[in-house]
């Protein structure tokens, strides 16, 4: 596969052939301009083929049965775990498969809830689980950037346990407010949960700065890496966080699979989330003990084909090169910021330069609701996200009811950024906004 041209840049027009959906037409016979990868990415044939091959040749229930197919399916599933682990610099026993990143984050929140409930009822937890017990006065810190998936589970955990939710604010320019970070993190902070890259503003958060603040008070660090792992090289050994979640479908992989990463010893100190088959060690009529991680968190027959597909997606991204993808997206983002920024009445939310910024560009247009902007773009075949993008508090903070968001990936081209800007100008004309 040759996906780069001579100067090391991406050969986008070639790699687009790997994504059959990009060749279709949409409304009014327009070619698809897909600028919604922040919501979900499109899939290359390599991923689709890997899933198909699994079903055609090796399908069986994983980790059950001793027949040949069961062995092959289990091997394929566990080999996928190793590939996905290596993709983020981890080892296989640190990778828990969940149905998506939302479930991975809930798994962590529920570990705290369960450990706390066990402590309150005097039935444990064991010394290992003590790190997950929330006691009166304990605090959980999140940021104003958070996607609902990394906010609501913590709100609910606070409601169940009496812990207090604290929020680290953002600056007017859409960056993490260091002063707020310093003010919020304190001796009572037990968890700091934050996003690596904002799904709305594109802001890449200073992980080292947050980790240092959390470490100083012994708080556990949970990173929502949904918008970073697909777009930049992420190495868990270098990040220094305790737990990290991402989803498969945003990184060329299938829906129905997400990942929770954590050190094996830490995972083993967490009470289970979903319980049932596969995750047990022994089961008696009235009580059970649990398997070691990652099996401890994988109740029921797991999503083997999706794991195989996600491993193929990791291979694909590796073959293209994460650094090249990051650079390519930066070019598109710079172009989008320049072209959109030049449109009168358009406000880009968040950083207006590409410094520590990913490829999500959200904006508002004076006098036109994002739904209407999105509809006019759709009429030209341009797919963007409209609404609050599951970050409602962030939109309130920015005084925006909602926004229109374009998000870029390796298969997007400069011509699509031009089409976006043309479409926005046409929408302004259509609705007669000044």
């Amino acid at each position: 596969m040759s996906l780069t041209v001579a100067d090391g840049r991406l050969d986008v027009s070639s790699l687009r052939h790997d994504f059959p959906i990009l060749g279709r037409t949409v409304r009014n016979g327009n070619p698809l301009v897909y600028l919604d990868s922040g919501a979900t990415s499109q899939k290359p044939v390599q991923v689709l083929d890997a899933e198909r091959e699994f079903y055609e040749k090796h399908n069986a229930a994983v980790h059950r049965g001793a027949h040949l197919l069961a062995e092959e399916a289990t091997d394929a599933y566990e080999a996928s775990r190793s590939t996905i682990a290596a993709f983020i610099g981890a080892s296989a026993d640190e990778i828990v498969f969940t149905k998506n990143a939302t479930e991975a984050l809930n798994l962590v929140a529920f570990a705290f809830g369960t450990a706390t409930a066990l402590w309150e009822h005097g039935s444990g937890p064991g010394p290992d689980e003590d790190r997950f017990v929330l006691r009166p006065g304990d605090e959980i810190a999140v940021t104003e950037f958070e996607h609902h998936a990394n906010l609501v589970p913590w709100q609910e955990l606070c409601r169940r346990t009496g812990a207090v939710l604290r929020v680290i604010t953002i600056t007017e320019g859409g960056r993490l407010d260091s002063a707020s970070l310093a003010a919020v993190i304190c001796e009572r902070t037990r968890v700091v949960a934050f996003t690596h890259q904002s799904n709305v503003l594109g802001t890449v958060l200073p992980v080292d700065q947050v980790v240092a603040a959390a470490r100083a008070v012994g708080a556990l660090v949970v990173l929502d890496a949904c918008q970073s792992v697909p777009h930049q090289k992420v190495n868990v050994a270098e990040l220094g966080v305790d737990l990290l979640a991402f989803s498969g479908h945003k990184m060329l992989g299938p829906t129905g699979i997400g990942v929770l990463w954590g050190r094996n010893s830490l995972l083993n100190s967490m009470p289970p989330f979903l319980t049932g088959g596969s995750m047990i060690e022994t089961v008696w009529q009235y009580e059970s003990t649990f398997a070691m991680a990652p099996q401890r968190f994988e109740a029921g027959v797991p999503m083997a084909a999706q794991a195989v597909g996600l491993a193929a997606a990791c291979d694909y991204l590796e073959s293209v090169g994460l650094d090249r993808i990051t650079n390519h997206e930066q070019e598109l983002t710079a172009l989008a910021l320049a072209e959109l920024g030049a449109i009168p009445g358009l406000r880009v939310l968040g950083p207006t330069d590409t410094d520590a910024r990913g490829g999500a560009v959200a904006f508002t247009v004076d006098g036109i609701h994002p739904h209407d902007v999105g509809q006019l773009l759709d009429d030209r075949g341009i797919a963007v996200r409209v609404g609050h993008h599951c970050a409602w508090p962030l939109h309130r903070r920015l005084d925006a009811v909602a926004s229109t968001r374009a998000s870029f990936y390796l298969y997007n081209e400069a011509s699509e950024v031009h089409a976006l800007a043309d479409g926005v100008r046409a929408a302004i004309k259509y609705f007669g906004a000044s």
């Binding site: 609701h369 509809q375 609050h388 009811v401 909602a402």
Partner: protein, 152 residues
Amino acid sequence: MEVDSLYQELILDHYKRPHGRGLREPFGAEVHHVNPTCGDEITLRVDLSDDDVVRDVSYDGQGCSISQASASILYEQVVGQSRKDAEGILAAFLELMHGRGQVEPNEEILGDAIAFAGVAKYPARVKCALLSWLAWEDAVLRIRAERNGSNG
């Protein structure tokens, strides 16, 4: 453009110059409805006379052209009608909106609300069109529940 079937002239007119907008007294019930996918919201009041005539519908809120025009046309269509007739308009509107473009709209019942026929072909926008109408239905139900409660 295909999208012209969605953005009928009448809809754009109501969007730019909404009728009946602003919250007014008196009212029998006030409701607040949101569209959780986009954050659009409406606060709506209904004043229902003792003999069941919709005396006023007043509203305030924020949203897209479809949701705002829909509230304006709701106001135009139901104020001055008997509750029963207004409920008939609502039923016809709901049927039209859920018809995926396959329902032949009855202009006699719907009046200007017929302009929303094109919205039914855009399933993601149906909720926008329905926001104010479902708020109105909710407000009327509350008024009636309160009356039944005080009678019983």
